[in-house]
Symmetry: C2
Subunit: 207 residues, 2 copies
DNA sequence: ACTGTTATAGAACGAATGATCGGCTACGCT
DNA sequence: AGCGTAGCCGATCATTCGTTCTATAACAGT
């Protein structure tokens, strides 16, 4: 019962992502999002409690999309070849999955690569949203632990740290396209990942 | 002639950097900078034509500091050992020089690692400032060309691109300390640089 | 047709922003 | 001593922000 929605919630998040991707952080205002979908600020505040929650939902959706793509890429690689080299390729695939996401959801990929969560979101998100973000973060850690086990047979904080470097720290700098590249950024990323994996953990060499 | 300055221009830039580093992009307002040095907004607008020029000067100073540190690190390495391995270590030193800068000017280093120039500065900077930024960028390219020559004997767009990956793209993600690290980030960086350099250029292997 | 519920529209509000302006102060020079 | 210049101060401007508010529109159930 009640009046039907004029705009899907996803449309609002799409508009917000598009504004962020095309015009930058400063252009992402409540009014701009409302105008972009042909709505009003009032109805936007009926869909989201605050601007911060809108940004939080936007981030959560992008992160979910990313994790789904990354999970599948890792699964395929690990299943195809359960050797150490297979695990290395799985880690490269995990790092490269930003590029896969970009094909499906370009603005989501750009969002995740260009902005850190803390820089975009303020504190004090609604409890449920904060809980979902924590859950998702836990799932990402779990995926990294699986990679660590596949690589070195154990998932302690050293090995997981090395995987995190490859999967979290490396990709944004290498795949975000602000600098004109002549060679394929994915090649650079793969080389960097191999370099990091080859030197960790300290007392173990790849077979 | 004229009244002497109450606050050095560098003090204003220091205050701006400190605000940016400690409280983030949103806290860097004209009033906040003026308050931080115990001055007024009016006198700040006497020192800088606009907020944008203040940010531009801040960026320029940080970039100059960075290039100076990086230049010296590269020179020392290249001079000590003119072999290919020496050049590799020089490239690692260039990439690691964010860490050196952090010791001398912590907020400058954080500024350069955390914020992209285009994301912080608006267009339409004063001509002289824009020219100085271009000049500095040219000097950075020149330094990268020197590294490319030391590494592979030539500085074409492929080799310079590879050096740029190591020196420009890799360090911010690996050295910016938002994620708690257990192993030394500099080790990860060195490993990543070695990985990238080992796979470029396509038809050349390290001696 | 009436009622209840939900969504929308858009004006309005207070706070904060970048920028401007006129009056004032402290110095060097003659 | 008096003047010109450069710098400082702080009230003030118009604008824009996130948010709130009230009235209205569109549905479902009876």
């Amino acid at each position: 019962m009640g009046r039907p929605r004029k705009h899907d919630l996803d449309d609002l998040l799409d508009a917000a992502e598009a504004l962020l991707a095309e015009s930058g952080h400063g252009a992402l205002t409540v009014r701009a999002v409302a105008d972009a979908v042909g709505g009003s600020t009032g109805s936007l505040y009926h869909a989201f409690r605050s601007r911060n929650e809108l940004l939080g939902q936007m981030w959560l959706r992008a992160a979910r999309r990313f994790l789904a793509v990354q999970r599948e890429a890792v699964d395929v690689c690990l299943q195809r070849s359960p050797t150490h080299e297979g695990a290395v390729e799985a880690t490269i695939a995990a790092a490269s999955s930003y590029e896969l996401l970009r094909r499906q959801h370009p603005t989501s990929a750009q969002l995740l690569m260009e902005y850190r969560r803390d820089a975009l979101l303020d504190d004090g998100l609604p409890d449920e949203l904060a809980a979902q973000l924590r859950t998702l973060e836990g799932e990402l850690v779990e995926l990294m632990r699986r990679l660590a086990v596949a690589l070195w047979g154990r998932a302690d904080r050293y090995t997981v740290d090395a995987v995190a470097v490859c999967v979290v720290d490396l990709p944004p700098g290498l795949l975000n396209g602000w600098r004109p590249r002549v060679s394929d950024p994915l090649d650079s990323l793969a080389a960097a990942v191999r370099g990091v994996l080859a030197t960790t953990p300290p007392n173990r060499k790849p077979a």
